[in-house]
């Protein structure tokens, strides 16, 4: 494919778009892993929402 004299601008724009989307996906996946690990640690310690839940706890 020939992008003509402005190929560098077109390719850079697509690289930026891919980097932004990849960054978003990585942030969400890593955040989920981090939170899952903490929740698993609580579970291992015997602390869970079911065992400790109060009426005001909606989460």
């Amino acid at each position: 494919m020939n992008f003509g004299p402005h190929a560098a601008f077109i390719i850079t724009a697509y690289v930026v778009a891919i980097a932004v989307v990849a960054g978003l996906i990585a942030w969400i996946v890593l955040d989920r892993r981090h939170l899952s690990r903490i929740l698993d640690d609580f579970e291992a310690q015997g602390i869970s929402r079911r065992s400790t839940r109060t009426d005001g706890d909606k989460w």
Partner: protein, 244 residues
């Protein structure tokens, strides 16, 4: 399944766990179709191949605005109905909206340099989108500054609704002021001014970007619910350590 069932975070997690793989698959499929259409789309008679930047720039701009609209609706849910999932939806949408707005600004700059001869001008459209990006950063900073999620949600909701004034300004800036940015060419009275050979790939890419936003937003909402569970457990643990 009614809307009220989704109000329960556990039901929301169960439902989205089933929906997310399908949504992600639909996103990948839409992008595969969109990218192939972009590849086959002809060059513009004036802009040449740089028109290919439009296929990512315009959907990114739409999604940057759409995310703020989602946050504004969620802000109403927070302030009027005090709906806990509304807080979660608003908080999860902010970084995604900021990322799409940043993508819009950078790709627009890269498109502007060869077409306008400059990366940036302080015209109404570009400036109002930059203001949108800065407002996203402000809302994200606000969420991080206030420890209590309920209080942070209410404060962020007010800022979001005030910031919603900028959305019509972005949309109509090209009509109200004399700008270097082109006027509306897709959604306008009298129909689109874009040839179908370019318009169809643009619409397909816009659908793909929208599916991507929905997928990322739901996944980020799930994370936020988990973060609140972690916070609750930490508080319970701290309370247990302190004793009765």
């Amino acid at each position: 399944m009614s809307l009220i069932d989704l109000a329960n975070p556990s039901r929301f997690l169960a439902l989205t766990a089933r929906a997310l793989p399908w949504l992600a698959a639909a996103t990948v499929l839409a992008f595969a179709i969109g990218i192939s259409q972009v590849y086959l789309a002809p060059d513009d008679y004036q802009q040449g191949a740089t028109v290919k930047i439009m296929f990512i720039h315009v959907p990114a701009a739409w999604l940057g605005i759409f995310a703020w609209i989602v946050m504004s609706v969620a802000a109403l849910g927070t302030l009027v109905w005090r709906h806990p999932l509304a807080d979660v939806a608003a908080k999860a949408a902010a970084p995604i909206g900021a990322a799409f707005t940043l993508m819009c600004l950078v790709t627009g700059s890269l498109w502007g340099r060869p077409m306008w001869g400059t990366y940036w001008v302080w015209d109404a459209r570009l400036t109002s989108v930059l203001v949108l990006f800065l407002m996203y950063l402000g809302v994200i900073a606000l969420w991080r500054t206030i420890d209590d999620p309920a209080q942070a949600a209410r404060t962020a909701a007010i800022l979001t609704l005030v910031g919603a004034i900028n959305i019509p300004i972005i949309k109509f800036s090209v009509d109200w002021w004399n700008t270097l940015h082109q006027p509306a060419s897709v959604f306008r009275l009298g129909g689109s001014t874009i040839h179908p050979a370019i318009l169809v790939p643009l619409i397909v890419m816009a659908v793909a970007f929208t599916l991507l936003f929905l997928t990322l937003h739901l996944a980020a909402m799930r994370n936020e619910i988990m973060r609140r569970r972690v916070r609750t457990l930490m508080m319970l643990q701290a309370g247990a350590r302190m004793g009765p």
